[in-house]
């Protein structure tokens, strides 16, 4: 038996660095001659900044520059007719204000404290214009998105649910949720001459950042070096290059010194995206025996006036259950707010909260067990695309999850299951997320001592990418994991996609697999054996015999064309057991079981951690997280960690991750599908449904705080 194989539980290869402080994050690089940038934010939601009094700031000790819309050096990618235009907010390019807290100046000083103080001295004069931030008031102004495939969808007959014998028609509200990774967004930028720039920045995709920065400054991408070796959480907030990253490079160019720009926690609420406020209407119609006749899913979510953001909030209703009639509508409402960004399980997490809550409501109307209802509408092929699934083990998820949560102890009648004064409830929520694979490259080098180094320009925002890659390489090469190092987070490495959409193991893992196979074949050939020989050989000896100090290979791995014939998704069933106090509205989440069909699991230890982390994110979505807006000012009133409630340890009791762990035969050679998103999708409805089962109270507006349960 191999020492380290796919399916093992390997501890994080960088775990020691992380827990001893040895892991260097973007804000921790000591660059000589460093200066510090601090952003000044607008306090109006719409209009123009007509003047900025920067005299006191400029005179303050240590200040090197105050960049404003009135003096900012032009960013080529921001200009009309730019060869490679930069999308989104063009910071300091003009004096227009689109949302409250939009940056209006950047102060650069020799220390962070001095820059912060000088920033407080900048005084703005505004020409205020009327603004719209009230989503509810403006929902009628929702538009079908211009880009992407968001056209109204109809299969069979629209609104067929209305004529069904049993019907549910309800509205569900998801408030604005902010990614809020522990690590603040930070960028250190410095130039080498006028055409070479280096950034240490929080990025989920160093190649994407390289392209964006190159476009912004009209540079050859090879002249842009992006480093992002460790990322302290991102959840989608670092999928793109944000205006403040460009501003850091712009400032560094101006002051001719390295500039480090760190967002404050408050700025993290307005500068780097969020999961948008969304209202969804669901109509479900079924026969008396629980066969769905019609699904209608309509969603409105907020976006920015200056940039359109979209996500697949209604997609899940098109394929998760078998219904002859399905129609969906998706609209966005442009407001004077910062632009949203994909947040873990983008679209599907939002959509499944509505769909899975409505399905639960239907189960009570039908007097049918919620799992049985899902089984009666189970679909063995994708009803949206009329294709077979590449793999689907959702039934097994229902069964194993139900066993682990103790579903047999659930009482069908809400409010009848008690432990002391506490009401006990069980709930289920399911989800699906596309299983993707992008083109990726990896470079491998075998050294004379038998050690192996692999490089790829992927990222690790927390799942333990390096660890999974080492395990795939160890398994493929048949050597111990501790002989292998995997390097990432550097734009000079071979191309890899941005870490998002749960596709890294599928994409980069395939490249690592393929480059290891290629190396192995080369070594077998060098040893004079058939390339596909199963007989173990001594790689070190082969190098020695051939008088080579090392051997190096780069390989690109592309998707499987066969995949076009299939619909490919990861599937999950989340279960929750809760206690609710009827008098105080307090909720104790006794247990969450996350059962997932994500193909072959490469590394059980890190995969379980990822599932648990996703479930905690789901607890936040369901129970505690809401960015609260005061519409009179268009400003958040809880932009800090004390008042925006990310779940804490005391909110979490037991979370169990269960993997079906059967390889997907189509998507990639390792047989994986993704787990990053699916770990969160379905958690919120499982909790809302469990709370209903306990109390008989249906909460359709998240988060489920105590006031909603008394």
């Amino acid at each position: 038996m191999k020492k380290d194989a796919i399916g093992d539980s390997l501890s994080r290869v960088d775990g020691r660095l992380k827990v001893t402080g040895g892991a260097k994050y973007s804000g921790e690089y000591k660059v000589p001659n460093l200066t510090y940038g601090v952003l000044v934010s607008a306090t109006i939601a719409s209009g123009t900044v007509t003047a900025l009094d920067t005299r006191s700031a400029e005179r303050a000790p240590g200040v090197l520059a105050v960049i404003t819309p009135f003096n900012a050096p032009k960013v080529p990618g921001y200009q009309a007719g730019a060869e490679r235009p930069v999308r989104g907010l063009k910071l300091f390019n003009d004096n227009k204000i689109y949302f409250n807290a939009q940056p209006i100046a950047l102060v650069v000083a020799d220390t962070f404290e001095r820059a912060t103080y000088a920033a407080s001295l900048v005084k703005a004069t505004y020409n205020t214009e009327p603004f719209e931030t009230d989503f509810h008031k403006n929902i009628d102004k929702g538009v079908t998105p211009q880009k992407g495939n968001y056209k109204d969808y109809v299969r069979g007959e629209a609104n067929a649910y209305k004529n069904a014998p049993v019907m549910v028609e309800e509205e569900y509200l998801l408030p604005t949720e902010v990614h809020n990774p522990m690590e603040l967004h930070v960028t250190t930028a410095f130039w080498d001459g006028d055409d070479k720039v280096t950034l240490y920045t929080k990025s989920q995709g160093v190649k994407g950042s390289q392209r964006s920065i190159a476009a912004a400054f009209g540079l050859n991408p090879d002249n842009v070096q992006i480093n992002s070796r460790f990322v302290g959480g991102a959840f989608g907030s670092s999928l793109r290059t944000w205006p403040h990253e460009i501003a850091a490079a712009q400032a560094a160019k101006l002051v001719k010194r390295p500039v480090k720009l760190t967002l404050t926690r408050e700025q993290m609420f307005t500068q780097v995206g969020y999961r948008p406020l969304t209202i969804q209407k669901i109509g479900l119609g079924a026969t008396a025996d629980g066969k769905l006749i019609g699904i209608t899913h309509e969603s409105h979510s907020q976006t920015a006036v200056y940039e359109e953001f979209t996500e697949g909030a209604v997609n899940v209703s098109q394929f998760l259950y078998n219904s002859p009639n399905v129609n969906t509508l998706y609209k966005v409402v442009p407001l004077n707010v910062g632009v949203p960004a994909p947040m873990r399980g983008p679209g599907e997490a939002t959509g499944s909260f509505a769909l899975e809550s409505a399905l639960d409501e239907l189960s009570y109307k039908l007097n049918l067990d919620p799992i049985e209802l899902r089984l009666r509408n189970y679909t063995d092929t994708d009803p949206e695309r009329n294709k077979p699934w590449s793999s689907k083990y959702l039934k097994e998820c229902y069964q194993k999850g139900a066993e682990a949560i103790g579903w047999a102890d659930r009482k069908a009648q809400p409010g009848t299951n008690k432990e002391g004064e506490w009401l006990v409830g069980y709930g289920i929520g399911c989800g699906a997320f596309g299983a993707y694979r992008g083109n990726a490259m990896a470079k491998i080098k075998l050294m004379a001592d038998g050690s192996v180094n692999i490089q790829s320009a992927t990222s690790d925002i927390g799942p333990g990418t390096g660890t999974s890659m080492v395990l795939i390489a160890a398994d493929t090469l048949g050597i111990p994991a501790d002989k292998i190092t995997f390097e990432l987070g550097n734009s000079a490495f071979p191309n890899a996609p941005t870490q998002g959409g749960s596709a890294t193991v599928s994409s980069v893992g395939s490249a690592v697999h393929d480059v290891c196979v290629a190396l192995k074949q080369k070594l077998y050939t060098m040893a004079g054996k058939p390339a596909d020989s199963m007989e173990p050989i001594d790689y070190v000896a082969v190098l020695k015999q051939n008088n080579m100090p090392s051997v190096e290979l780069t390989q690109e791995s592309k998707g499987n064309p066969e995949a076009q014939k299939y619909s490919m998704y990861s599937f999950s069933a989340h279960f929750a057991k809760v206690h609710v106090h009827p008098l105080t509205g307090q909720v104790k989440i006794k247990k969450i079981v996350a059962c997932v069909d994500a193909g072959k699991i490469v590394n059980h230890k890190t995969a379980s951690s990822q599932m648990i982390g996703g479930a905690v994110g789901g607890v936040g979505m369901a129970m505690t997280e809401e960015a609260v807006f005061d519409e009179r000012y268009g400003r958040y009133i809880n932009g800090n960690f004390a008042d925006y409630h990310v779940p804490v340890n005391a909110d979490i009791q037991q979370i169990e991750a269960i993997f079906i762990d059967k390889p997907d035969p189509v998507l990639n050679p390792v047989g994986t599908k993704g787990i990053g998103e699916i770990s969160l999708i379905g958690v919120a409805p499982a909790l809302a449904n469990a709370i209903y089962n306990a109390t008989g109270k249906r909460v359709r507006e998240l988060p489920i705080t105590p006031d909603k349960l008394i």
Binding site: S120, L583, I637, A642, D643, V648, D651, P706, D707, I710
Partner: protein, 330 residues
Amino acid sequence: MNQFQYTRPAETAVAVKSLAKEPNGYFLAGGTNLVDMMKMGLVVPDKLIDINRLPLKKIEKTATGMHIGALASNSEVAEHAYIKAQYPLLALAINAGASPQLRNMATVGGNLMQRTRCPYFFDTAMPCNKRTPGSGCGALEGINRMHALFGASDKCIAVNPSDMNVALAALDATIHVTGVKGPRAIKIGDFHRLPGDHPELDNTLQKGELITSVDLPTASSAYNKHVYYLKIRDRTSYAFALVSVAAALHIENNTITGARLAMGGVAHKPWRLSTAETFLKGKAVNEDNFKHAAQIAMQGAKAYEYNKFKLKLAPNAIVQSLKLATGLAS
């Protein structure tokens, strides 16, 4: 950061004298609130007088009860064996607040001085009479979910955020202070103010006065047997109270012979429920009496647009805290 003077005297008299001369000076103890406010530009001091070297850390039993030095940390008080045994309500309330890290830094005197968490107070781009007198109250017609039910004014509807203060109110604590005019004692009920026309004033301390200790009456009257601190909040730890209740009862033969009740999260000061206490005295331990007491306690409550739920949550929390204190619930 703004430039300011910093001194660290070793004697209380020096500290007091030093602040009296300084119109824009502040005492610095644990810094868990003041430093945050300085970072946010809510407080821009000219002088900070670090009082951490003053000999005000003692926690000791006295002839008349318990003496807690103003610089004793919240953790030290909550973990003190005699306090845990004889004044458990105080330990429970302290441990319901903040996080272990904050409780290690925060002092008893500083906790008494903790300023409101009203979001309008914290954002200099919004109006707040407490921060900038005369600028208006952002909360009155804003998002007032966390705000007061009792004793508010049209100038301010903010609440005192402290858990410790609620227990101190129930336990009849006395706050000892000293100033250039000498020492004086302030009953806890007179220490914090209602906002009235001057919400900028949280308490009745005179300019330059320093809290030196918090004294509790003897353990025999400390209500140490039937006690509970119930805090209802949006997450299980590290969140301010929607509503909290400190409940302590004397019970003989299933009859309540004395009751102490105070609420947090409902007023500009810890809100002692004296009428409910009077009602409970002489009554049997049962849920009906608790419900009646809660009803009495809620007389005069006034809610705003977003905190109407507190009109139900607060009496429910009173009932539940009494049930938990008496063992009717667990």
